[in-house]
């Protein structure tokens, strides 16, 4: 079998698509954090400002894994694609 440049390009783009499967876990994690935040505000509405800032911080931290996958996908597209 011959590995020409189009094969490499196609495989790189395919790999970029597969890398973004990581968005699955990220979505679940962020949704869970947001749901718990809403629950906390419902239980204690006076602390909503503090809860909101902690929730946003947690969500952005949970986003990291998804962002790693995104960087890998972008590298695959623009370097090999």
């Amino acid at each position: 079998m011959e590995f020409n440049e189009f094969f490499v390009q196609g495989m790189a783009l395919l790999g970029a698509g597969i890398a973004m499967v990581a968005g699955f876990g990220q979505g679940i994690g962020e949704g869970f954090a947001a749901g718990k935040g809403a629950e906390a505000v419902g239980r204690n509405p006076e602390a909503s400002g503090k809860i909101q800032s902690i929730m946003v911080l947690g969500i952005a931290l949970a986003e990291t894994t998804g962002i790693f996958a995104l960087v890998v996908a972008i590298l695959l597209i623009f370097v090999k694609g």
Binding site: V56, L61, F68
Partner: protein, 236 residues
Amino acid sequence: MEQQVSALEITFGSFHLEIQQSILVWLVLCVIFAVFFIWAGKKIDKADPSKASTGVVYVCEEILNLVLYVIKGNLREKTKRYLPFFGTLILMMLVSNLIGLVGLQNPTSNVSFNATLAVTIFFMIQINGIKRAGLKARIKSLSEPMAILLPMNIVGEIALPLSMTMRLFGNILAGCIITMLIYTLMKSVMPWGVLGFIFTPFLHAFLDIFTGVIQTYIFFTLGSFFLGQQVSEEEA
């Protein structure tokens, strides 16, 4: 990225240097900030503290409050010592993230900007950690709960600048690419592409303003949190 929007190329004999647009924007921002704050500092010196502040003095006070909001809870009694460092960088990164709104390329979408900041903060954390109780105590605190976990803890420490760099870089670059794609699509279907102007304000609001501000907040909250663990003796 292979095609930068525009780049300055300097050729001097055999010496060839290409400065990308993001870095140029950054350098221009540095000059603007330096001039602005020297001017504002003179104004603040002249201002009368007994009266309510107006104009540029008021703007500077609000900037100070913003910076204190981010770092004060983490650095506690050492806030004043590290205020100039964090204040400059927070303002710098905030403007860098928001400058995509005027059509320039964000300096933060270039990995060298982010890596520089993250590595600076990493070295600050480590040097302060060693200074506080000596090298031996620092290694001891890393080899907890048992000595065999020392390599794992060192990897954990090195992961901090890496994750800080990649988080900011990925977020801002993704925003850049998505807006660029939408504008390219609008251009290629032009008679109907005018409809795209309905969607682009929302895209900019989310990708530039929301993501930019949140990522600045996250970056410096994390940085000052880990620095505060090393320099601050007071309990939170």
